[in-house]
Symmetry: none
Subunit: 247 residues, 2 copies
Amino acid sequence: MDITRAAEGAKGFEKVFTLLRERLLDGSLKPGDRLVPERELAAQLGVSRPAVREALRALTMLGVVEIIDRIGTVVRRPDVSMLGYFFAFALAQQADVIDDVIEARIAIECQAVRLAAERATIADFERLQQALTRIAATIDDPEAGGMADFDFHAAVVQAAHSETLSVLHASMGALLARSHRTRRDLVQVFGSMKSYLIDDHRRVFDAIVARDPERADIALRRHFAIGDDYRRRAATGQVEPQKAGGE
Amino acid sequence: MDITRAAEGAKGFEKVFTLLRERLLDGSLKPGDRLVPERELAAQLGVSRPAVREALRALTMLGVVEIIDRIGTVVRRPDVSMLGYFFAFALAQQADVIDDVIEARIAIECQAVRLAAERATIADFERLQQALTRIAATIDDPEAGGMADFDFHAAVVQAAHSETLSVLHASMGALLARSHRTRRDLVQVFGSMKSYLIDDHRRVFDAIVARDPERADIALRRHFAIGDDYRRRAATGQVEPQKAGGE
DNA sequence: GTCAATTGTTGGTCAGACCAACGGCTAAAT
DNA sequence: ATTTAGCCGTTGGTCTGACCAACAATTGAC
């Protein structure tokens, strides 16, 4: 492993981090690979060992490496659970990032639902059907209901058979699950949400089964729009949304 | 700032990280706050300064603090830029399935073009217009043309005014730029690509200007589909695509 | 009051030492 | 010959103490 071509001009932490980042991004370092020991890496790069440690710790936070005591540092597939930390901090600091990410998830799911309509397998239909059943069974339980809603959406993304979309969706998973959970709290405020939750998810499922990407996309977008409406009205103190009973 | 209640039993990095995480999550530390100097924090916690540095560096990667040289460490509000690092690594691992990533980009861009149709500013229109001009001017230059194509798509994503979509798109940026570059090589095989490239991009632009999200989405999807058609025919040795000249 | 020099402060980095906990190797016992 | 016990090497985790760079603040001279 030729690892001595360091970043120009940099030293210490920056030198190590930049070089490892490049090796990871260009594929020289792959999941499962073990880095040379810290002392050796420090010697090769002409930096101090604490600088190496800082860089490795930083990469650990991104989930791309794992420092194993007395074994060494191992490259791993980026671990979406690390993003749980990020979202927890974002929530605690009331950062704008939360709504931005939740909005952007529409891109992932709406494209996924189109692909699902084209590619879903029997196993996918079964998983979606089970998720639908669970949504209905948990309609009065916000905790389990939130999870059931999230599971349905995750099943849609899985049915798309796109590894990239799955990774992106999983990276937002912690945030989306929380969002679904919060949405479910509104069921006690708006009785009409019960039929909304069951019927809308069913509509999405039916469009996937019908192999109709356009219809699936439209059904899912409508689902998001009405969900946002419920949220808006809860925030503004309005009672039942006017469109809830309509088509 | 009472910061000495450390995590039970832990020491070194773990002790510092855990304690700071708690302070950040419980609101004791807020954006704008400045932590005590590293030396003092190390003394208060009874750990070494490198341990403090590792913990601070870890929190830096999560975007919750910023280490400012000779000033100190300041708490900040997390923003989406941290996600960019994560996505870049996650997508780099997908590099073996480049087509999967290229396909998934449709999710990002098609949602972005919808939002662009709703949110684009005058400055966005100007940037898109310039990109269009550059596409036409570079029609016979694969290198510059690939970049011009990518710039148009990036401008669409920017016009969506969604940080998360921008970050996601940037994470794929290198792959997409290369894909556009490769596509431009096909111009020499298929003369009809010239009008395709100019007209299709113009159609997308017009739909954005018309503030018509549906039409923009449809135009961009058609653009991708025809682009894929060219690519397929090049791979299978066919000459001009039959639909190229039609509506 | 202004300017220059000095001092203090903070993060960035380094060198070297020690500790804990394994795994591997070697020598002794059976 | 085989098994067991002890020792050594290795690696990450942590610590101490020192030095450097680059400012800002303070002090003294004019």
